[in-house]
Symmetry: C2
Subunit: 168 residues, 2 copies
DNA sequence: CTTTGTGCAAAGCGTTTGCACTATT
DNA sequence: AATAGTGCAAACGCTTTGCACAAAG
């Protein structure tokens, strides 16, 4: 899954690895070889990914280290989310992750044709949500906004091979 | 799943059943006994529901008619969505449905404690989304905004049995 | 040496599909 | 009669879990 990144980064004191180590230590959990490899892989590029993407990337060590099991990947992704390093969202039933630590709050435009996720800053949305929440005596803890549509690239192409369901 | 409904209704010319019949006819599909029963059940109350809720409600005929199969329920929900009678959204992996026909556009506050969905009118959100879309050359076709948080009722209770993960 | 983590394979969960049978048109 | 729809059960895709073995503290 590709993505466009229009947003900068946020200054942080620790590397993701260090922060994860802190998190683990504070909970009496252990830093393992597998977790190290996963953190390195996850933060080696800034793309949206799901468990399977990561599993494939990890398998691409081609003969290097031993393979990391599917269960370990799922368990570690949960922990990275818990630790505030990753943000998890739900796209058509699958869990999709992105960097949270050191990255500003944002939401997404989702292209229904090419499946691309485009990020945009959501300050105004946050304010609107807070206002709506206040009206309802609701304490807003987070929002997950995914705007569906068709991206500029796909609109430009417009091959329309017999136009599947356009204007219907 | 309970819901609060602060919004009114929209005047429509046909009943949901009539509209569904039109939809089916226009596609060479047939109106069956099962579809009739499902439409009646679905539009007999205005609540958010998933396939399993509906399946249970249909089973509650207690000895009356024959049971309607799981597959038929899923297939009919798809068609009702296609026909514009239902709106489908994704809540934590499951598909959740609500009336679309004869009901104004809105979005939801989702209480993470009691799982309630509270509706709110989203005109301003729509405008913001369109603006954001324009900035990115993106044609917005729809938005699905679910604001997470804690509802007024749950905030009022605040039993906090040893406070699970508050302020952590 | 104790306890947490791992990998595997099996189970789980919501949803979809293949197929023989039934009902609508 | 012709064809679309149904119910069942099996398959599906993603995720979680149980368990014996490995490794971190």
């Amino acid at each position: 899954m590709k993505a466009e990144f229009a947003l900068g980064t946020v200054e942080v004191a620790m590397t993701p690895m260090e922060r994860f180590e802190d998190y683990l230590q504070s909970r009496g959990k252990r830093m393992t070889q597998q977790r190290r490899v996963i953190v390195e892989q996850v933060f080696s590029h800034h793309e949206h990914f799901d468990a399977d993407d990561l599993l494939k990337e990890l398998g691409d060590g081609v003969g290097e280290a031993q393979n990391i099991g599917r269960a370990t990947v799922y368990r570690t992704l949960d922990q990275l989310t818990e630790a505030g390093l990753l943000r998890k969202m739900n796209l058509e039933g699958r869990s999709v992750y992105e960097h949270d630590y050191g990255y500003p709050a944002h939401d997404h435009l989702h292209c229904q044709r090419c499946n691309k996720l485009i990020e945009f800053s959501s300050e105004q949305f946050k304010e609107l949500c807070d206002a709506v929440g206040r009206e309802h005596g609701f304490r807003v803890t987070g929002l997950r906004l995914i705007v569906q549509g068709v991206c500029a690239d796909c609109l430009a192409k417009q091959h329309r091979p017999t136009r599947p369901l356009d204007l219907v």
